[in-house]
Symmetry: C2
Subunit: 330 residues, 2 copies
C-alpha cells in the first residue's frame, strides 16, 4: 500500500490454524438454521455473515479468553454474538449510507426494500442478544448492551453534529471509538471478565482492544482512498463522498488549509472531478503516511500492554493480529 | 363502542394505585437521563415513552411477579425493559408503515429523517437490552431476546407473504401473536420464571398472557374502524389503508364473499371513497360483534388460568386488566 510496507494476508495469519476449531464452532452459531424466517432473506443475511471472512472480532474474543486463562466454552457464543452485533450494525449502516456494495457483494438494502432491511437488522440484533445470553455471564451481557449503545450514540452524534463541519482530531477519535474501538475493546476485555480479573486489569484489556480498533479504523480510513475498488469491495473514496473527513484528510487540511475542495466535500457539492483530483492529491501528499504513523503508535502502545502477559502461542497470535491491523491491504 | 358495552377507563383501574410505587420506579428507569445522545432526539424518544400512559406491559410484569410470590426487585428493570422493547418496535414500525401520528402525537419518522429514526430505534433496543441485563436472570434474558426475534419474524413474514393476499384465520392469529401476544406472554410468564416455577407452570402463565394479548389485539383491530380519530390518536381505518385484513374484516369477507372492495384493499388500489364506504358497511355488519365474541372467549380462557391462583388484590388487579382489555374504547 505504502512504500516499504509488506502487506499481510489473513489467510497467512497463524491464528486461523491455532484456533481453527473454536472459529468453526463460532461459525456454526453464526450460520444456525432459522426455520421461522422468510428463506430468501435469511439466505441473504447468511451470505453477508459468510462474507466476513477475517472473523477478527471472534478471533480476538477467543484469543483474549485463552490469554487470560478463562474457560473458552463461554467465549464461543460471545464471539458469535459480537460478530452478529457487528453484522446488524453493518446492515443498518449500509441502509443509512445508501451503500450498494459491501465486501464485493450487493448490500441488503440494494436487494430489498428499506422496511425489510430495517427488520433484517433488527432480527440480527435479536440473534446477537440471544447468543450473548448464552455466555451465562450477566456482566458481559451488560457490557454487550452498553457497547451497542455507544455504537448508536456515535452514529447519532455524527448525524446531528458531524455533517458539514470539519471535525477536530478529538471528534474523529471519538467517532472511530464508537464505530470500531468500542467493539474491539469488548472482544479483548471479554477474556478478563470471564477470568474474573480485577476492574483495573479489565480496563487495561479494554484499552488494548480500543487501541487495536483505533489503529484498524485509521488504516481502513487510509485504504478508503489509497486502495482500489476491487480490493476494497466498494468504491474508492466512499468516506469523502459521504462528506466524512477522516484522520489522513484532517492532516491534509492542516497542511493545505486553503484547499477549497474540502468545503465542497463537507457541503456535499463536490463533483466527481473534484473527488478524483482530491484523491489524487491525497495520494501525492503525506496524509496516508502521517496517519499510518498514528496507527503504528497505537499498535506500539497496544503491544506494550500485551507484553505483560505470558508468551504463549495465543499471545503471539494476538501480536500478529495487532501487526496485521496496520499491515494489510484490505 | 358497541351496544351494551361499558367502557372502562385506564385511570379508573385499581392496578394503578395498587402498584403505584412500582410503576413509578419503572418510570424512573424509562426516563433515565442520557448524557451522550443528541438532546433533541432523546427528548423526542422520552416524549414517545411518556405518551404510553397505560403502562399495561409493566403492570402485567409486576402483577405476575406478585401473583407468583417472586421478588419484585428484579421485575422492575424487566418491566422497564419490556416497555422499552415495545417502544423500539413502535419506532421502527411507524417508520416502516410511514405512520405520521401515534397516540395523538407526531411519530419520530414524521419529525426526523429515516436514518435518524432507524438509529433511534436501535438505541432504544440497546436501552432495553441493558435494562433486561439488570434482571440478573439469564433465562429471562434469553426469553427476552427470543421475543424480539418472534416480533421481527412476524413482521417479516407479513411483509414477504402477507401482502396482497387474504389471510386465513390461522395466519391472522400467528401475526397478532408475533405482534402483541408474544410480549404480553413474556410479561406474565416473567413472574413464574422469577419464582422458579416448573416449566409447565411457566407455560401456563405464557398461555395466560398470550390469550390476554390476543384479546387486546383483536379489540385494537375492532377499534381501528369502529372508533374515531380523536380517540385513536391516529386515522380511522389505518389497517385497511395498509392493506391489512384483520379478524372482524375476515368475518365480513366470509359473510359477503362477493364484495370486490376487499380485493381493492388488498391490491392497495382502493380510493378514499371505497375505504369510507367499506368502513360504513363494516359498522352496519356484525363484524365487530363477532370478533368481540372471539376476544371475550380468549379472556374467559385466560381468567380460567388466573383463577387457579390465590385471590389476592394482585390477582384481582390482573382480572381487572383482563376485563379492561376487551371493555375499552381506546
Amino acid at each position: 500500500m505504502m512504500s516499504g510496507a509488506v502487506n499481510m494476508k489473513t489467510s497467512e495469519l497463524q491464528y486461523r490454524s491455532l484456533i481453527r476449531d473454536e472459529l468453526q464452532e463460532v461459525q456454526a452459531y453464526l450460520l444456525h438454521p432459522v426455520p421461522n424466517m422468510p428463506p430468501p432473506l435469511s439466505e441473504a443475511i447468511k451470505e453477508l455473515i459468510n462474507s466476513g471472512g477475517k472473523r477478527l472480532r471472534p478471533a480476538l474474543t477467543i484469543l483474549s479468553t485463552y490469554i487470560c486463562g478463562a474457560d473458552v466454552v463461554q467465549a464461543i457464543p460471545l464471539a458469535a454474538a459480537i460478530e452478529m452485533l457487528h453484522t446488524a450494525t453493518l446492515i443498518h449502516d449500509d441502509l443509512i449510507d445508501n451503500a450498494r456494495v459491501r465486501r464485493g457483494a450487493k448490500t441488503l438494502n440494494a436487494c430489498w426494500s428499506p422496511s425489510t432491511t430495517v427488520l433484517a437488522g433488527d432480527v440480527v440484533f435479536a440473534w446477537a442478544a440471544k447468543l450473548a445470553a448464552q455466555t451465562q455471564n450477566l456482566y458481559l451481557m451488560k457490557r454487550f448492551s452498553e457497547t451497542l449503545e455507544v455504537i448508536c450514540y456515535g452514529e447519532l452524534n455524527q448525524m446531528f453534529y458531524g455533517l458539514g463541519v470539519l471535525p477536530t482530531v478529538t471528534t474523529y477519535y471519538e467517532r472511530i471509538y464508537a464505530k470500531t474501538g468500542s467493539l474491539f475493546a469488548l472482544t479483548t476485555e471479554a477474556g478478563g471478565i470471564l477470568a474474573r480479573y480485577s476492574e483495573a486489569q479489565v480496563q487495561q484489556l479494554h484499552r488494548f482492544g480500543m487501541l487495536l480498533g483505533r489503529a484498524f479504523q485509521i488504516v481502513d480510513d487510509i485504504l478508503d482512498f489509497m486502495s482500489d475498488e476491487d480490493t476494497l469491495g466498494k468504491p474508492v473514496g466512499s468516506d469523502l463522498r459521504h462528506g466524512l473527513i477522516t484522520l489522513p484528510v484532517l492532516h491534509y487540511v492542516q497542511t493545505f488549509p486553503g484547499d477549497t475542495r474540502i468545503s465542497q466535500v463537507l457541503q456535499r457539492t463536490a463533483t466527481e472531478e473534484t473527488y478524483q483530483s482530491l484523491i489524487e492529491d491525497l495520494h501525492h501528499s503525506d496524509a496516508a503516511e502521517w496517519a499510518m504513523t498514528q496507527a503504528q503508535e497505537d499498535v506500539r502502545q497496544a503491544l506494550e500492554i500485551l507484553y505483560g502477559y505470558p508468551p504463549t502461542p495465543y499471545r503471539h497470535a494476538m501480536e500478529e493480529i495487532a501487526h496485521f491491523s496496520i499491515q494489510r491491504g484490505y
